[in-house]
Amino acid sequence: MKLDGRRARFEALAPVVIDAVRRYLARRTDPATADDVLSETLVICWRRLDEVPADYLPWAYGVARRCLANAERGRRRQARLVARIAVLDPPRGVLDGPVPPDGELAAALSRLRDEDAELLRLWAWEDLAPAQIALVLGISANAASIRLHRVKQRLREELGKSGPPGGHEQSREGRRP
């Protein structure tokens, strides 16, 4: 009976988790790693179903985030050995995205610290509020709110820097008179 209850709850939330976590992973890793990490995330959700809160998506993102970090740690170790090969054979799909890539935005994001850029991704792509972002990252809601506010500001500054129409993108090259 208890097991039936567990099943019913899992069957109700898992399709939503699958959809959301697949997207979360597609944004952050390659398809093969994404498949592995999705399975692992689901197993943990099932195993720890009693702890899954009512607002379960941030919790599931937090699990996926940890699983992905663990998957990538193992890979990073191997990657140090084959780094040169990876350069010669870059992952596919980078150049032929359906939407023309926003190079300016990508460049601005890449100038942010990775943990700051992650806040923006969680906000814009996963559509999370600061309190939910806090849950994913394991920080306080207050800290998430402040950091998100700051990093939005930083991104705007970076976007302003990198090339307003008729901008001064080369200005750093020369010294001011």
Binding site: L3, R6, R7, F10, E11, A14, P15, I18, D19, R22, R23, Y24, A26, R27, L38, S39, L42, V43, C45, W46, R47, R48, L49, D50, R66, A69, N70, R73, G74, R76, R80, G97, P98, V99, P101, D102, L105, A106, L120, R121, W123, A124, W125, G138, K152, L155, R156
Partner: protein, 196 residues
């Protein structure tokens, strides 16, 4: 539209998952079924955990030393390629330990990982991280030990090169008293699996 809305819309246009096709319903149900059937039995609050607690209690009585000085520094040296975390072994007067519980581990540890000792230089033990159960990303952990302090760990009670350990810490201090030790110590792996 506020400035925030503009920024968010621009980020959304660059969403790499925007073109991700949803999983077909039969694939979703297969994934669901696989998850519920191929995994180990779901976590049960009695049984295994309780038996483990009883078994380990006897071992813990023998553990002496250690303190409650968890307020040691934990510094994370940020390097893009290898993140190093520093921890310290507790140090202090002998004390009694109560049997470890999943709840205490889950609630008390802010960092928990599995790692293999790659080097011991004097009092500094270096471990290469193989799995993070809880806490920030790290590739390498350095544990500062004082003479005798590692005796409080489960297993052989000392760090050995090449050996695998499960270590939990709070505010930079390693949690002993049955919460850290050799990875194959009785029940320790289960404790970690259930806590994190």
């Amino acid at each position: 539209m506020t400035e925030d809305d503009d920024l968010r819309s621009r980020l959304r246009r660059a969403d790499p998952a925007a073109s991700l096709a949803p999983l077909a319903p039969d694939q979703t149900s297969r994934l669901l079924e696989e998850t519920m059937t191929t995994t180990v039995s779901p976590r049960v609050s009695t049984g295994r955990g309780r038996r483990f607690a009883v078994l380990v209690a006897a071992a813990l009585v023998l553990l002496a030393g250690g303190g409650t000085s968890w307020l040691l520094t934990r510094s994370e040296v940020g390097k893009p390629s290898a993140v190093v975390v520093s921890l310290s072994m507790p140090d202090g007067a002998p004390r009694k330990c109560v049997p470890p519980t999943v709840e205490v581990l889950a609630g008390g540890a802010d960092f928990a990982f599995a790692g293999t000792v790659t080097g011991i230089a004097g009092d500094a033990v270096t471990l290469s991280v193989t799995h993070i159960y809880k806490g920030a990303e790290a590739d390498e952990v350095r544990v500062a030990q004082t003479p005798g302090s590692s005796e409080q760990m489960l297993g052989s009670g000392r760090f050995e090169t090449g050996q695998k350990y499960l270590i939990a810490s709070s505010a930079g201090g390693v949690l002993t008293c049955g919460y850290s030790g050799e990875a194959d110590s009785l029940g320790l792996q289960d404790l970690y699996e259930n806590a994190f």
